[in-house]
Symmetry: C3
Subunit: 316 residues, 3 copies
């Protein structure tokens, strides 16, 4: 595996999932695979789960990790070509990524969207330049439009908890005080489309995701209809794609409560975390055995370990 | 050992101290004890000594360490239950600690008091929630009201330097331009009460420590009387407990000078560092052989190693 | 080797260079040399290349690394002696360095000049105090007036790419929107003076480097004359030494372009990075095979590894 930035980078999802289940059962089974290999983790945006879980995954494989916390103001990177760099940006991605590729065997990058220029964000300009100029395998630690390590962990979690071979999985929008990226829902949809699940997406009008993600997916504005008979309820806020980056509706009735969960088929509650209690989901749901959010978080180690292991094998 | 947050967490101080002396003599004697174990260090407040010494202690035991620098603004954590989280806090401690407990075998947390709401601080709300929701052994890296790794290192240092079996130890307040927590003096007192020392605490009126710490301890407002015949002088500033978090007296005459040290029985000077020169203590004292502040700092590795080793043994 | 802060700390440059070439060829040949040794890296200023390359170098030698990012505001250190510390500085370098020397076998320090007080900067006050009070071998990660790991990497790169035994090397100033330190050019000059190269320095009037560095070096204000027949062109901006820390001339014609490179003897282009494209150097030059800037960056691992190895041998 040369890059892990989107579902299209996965040649064989079944095989990857099978590897993941083996790592979940025996985390130390490849403890020397990453010996004398260095993983560089570059965070252009803050991280708790991703940093810790990916660092732990590297340890399970015997890799060394170097973490670079590059706050947006501390490290302003130019991504345009041909520009006279006499402004704020002190370095071009060509050199920055090129240098890191010389120091590390595998690189991870976290970069959030600006939520202002949709074309720029959806072109994945920062991530794609990083891939191109680093010259080494790159793992996305969440990018402008996708969060594949999260989606893979979500899929692992669903496989572990599914009560039927082909469960019904609902992705539902819920209101949030801040405008958030579409990366998690985009990514969840593209992973579920290739998985043995029946996916339904539900949100208020105005929060339609980009066609490249939801084409062919069952989408409804009726949350109750969506939740009916669901085995898994995946809640998440996102801002508008059409009216890019805006909050166009803050309807609090989309919060996942016990009453909403009663519509499901003894459904499990999922969220990528961090989650705002009693905004996205009620305390009663989150503190009940229905909630498998900590299992999702724990599986972030498994998804990262599985992807790193595939990349290491390809390097060898 | 399941938690190390206060002296009450130590079942047998003599046994712990004996282990510490062995680690001081032979730091690498348990170099494999922490193999395949991960220590997570979470800093809600800055740290130099604690970060470096605890990371070094983990290395001596063969543990992997993941450090999370979570500045107060970067990672605002909700600790109240039942609240609608539509404000600044993006995550509840229930999830944050729960996730970290899934990634790490042992966790360390640094959290300072706000010095505004005494009940909140003295309930150790942040630390106690972290202990509860992480589900793994927790080591305090200094909390709102205590700094047990420092106090344990102080005790080790006193044992190494004591000229008599039961030395006289004086904890003295000294003025400081900023309002500081009571964590270090509280903790020092509760550790010294169980140790083979004669403890005297001295400070101006208004700086009385909480009863739960100083009940049964000899306290005087006469610094000269306290210093008379002392073998160890432990200087530290703290703000008022009664007039919570305030500086109620800035009397510079409490500074430890050569003249003050002349009252002691060839006493050693101690401070947890960082220390303001010629404010808390004069250059002459700090630069003399009387000062054992660097030994105290060095023993921070020993105290952390000893506690981590006890926790690792309990995990095995 | 007890310290690596300037060329004068190198007893035998030929021998060091020979070691470096061996590490470049076989990075893992001393994989156990740093076993059970701890490297502490203290950054008073930001870093990408230095942090990653030095951490990687330590890994190649089997050392453990502890990184301390101490932003100027987060950790204000007093360096004056005898002062009453009732201001912003919460700790004196005597204690800060002393403590770190107790935790680490080797320390690295990055500290930039203030560019206000030339005497203070050129006395290397912060670095020299760190060396004195830490009591352990210290490696400069760039200081107020020098950047020896960079210069050593530059020399290694020149040796690897030289088309003749004694190449002509040109250090040329180029304009930049911000006032930058003289550390890189100072250091480059003092390393090249002892190397088998013919060095020429060129810059506009007003950018003369300090005599202690350029005495005996061929300096010209005519860039074209300097570039004539050059095998290596090392571009770098710096602010004025005479009118200390000021930009006294912003002439854009000093930018290295294809036309300028045409004056050379098929010269290679070098820069320490980060570099501003189309300000210091044109895209055409930087994106051509003439550019060896990524090799320079890669050799930062080699220079750091070689120096750390020498220090480790001296410790053993």
């Amino acid at each position: 595996m040369k890059r892990f930035t989107r579902i299209a980078d996965v040649a064989n999802l079944d095989a990857l999932l099978s590897e993941a289940m083996d790592y979940a059962a025996n985390p130390w089974r490849s403890a020397d695979l990453g010996r004398r290999r260095t993983l560089g983790l570059v965070f252009l945006n803050p991280s708790l789960r991703t940093r810790m879980s990916t660092q732990k995954a590297a340890q399970l494989l015997g890799m060394d990790t170097i973490v670079l916390n590059a706050g947006a103001d501390a490290w302003t990177i130019e991504t345009r070509d041909g520009v006279v760099m006499d402004g704020a940006a002190g370095e071009h991605m060509r050199e920055a990524a090129g240098v890191m590729g010389r120091y590390c065997d595998i690189l991870g990058l976290r970069t959030f969207p600006g939520l202002v220029d949709r074309d720029y964000d959806y072109a994945e300009t920062v991530l794609e330049q990083f891939v191109t100029y680093s010259g080494v395998p790159v793992i996305s630690l969440e990018s402008a439009t996708r969060h594949p390590l999260q989606s893979f962990a979500d899929l692992i979690t669903i496989m572990q908890h599914r009560p039927v071979v082909r469960p019904k999985v609902v992705l539902t929008w819920a209101a949030h005080p801040k405008a958030l990226p579409q990366a998690v829902p985009n990514s969840f949809v593209e992973w579920m489309k290739g998985a043995p699940v029946d996916l339904v997406v539900t949100h208020p009008e105005g929060y339609e995701l980009a066609d490249e993600f939801v084409s062919g997916v069952h989408v409804t504005h009726n949350q109750d209809e969506a939740l009916d008979g669901a085995h898994f309820v995946y809640a998440k806020n996102w801002s508008s794609y059409a009216d890019y980056g805006r909050i166009t509706n803050s309807d609090p009735s989309w919060q996942i409560t016990e009453a909403k969960m009663a519509l499901t088929n003894n459904g499990k509650f999922m969220h990528c975390l961090p989650v705002r209690r009693n905004v996205i989901v009620s305390d009663a749901v989150l503190d009940s055995p229905r909630s498998i959010v900590l299992d999702e978080a724990a599986n972030r180690v498994v998804s990262a370990q599985t992807v790193l292991a595939e990349m290491l094998k390809a390097l060898a």
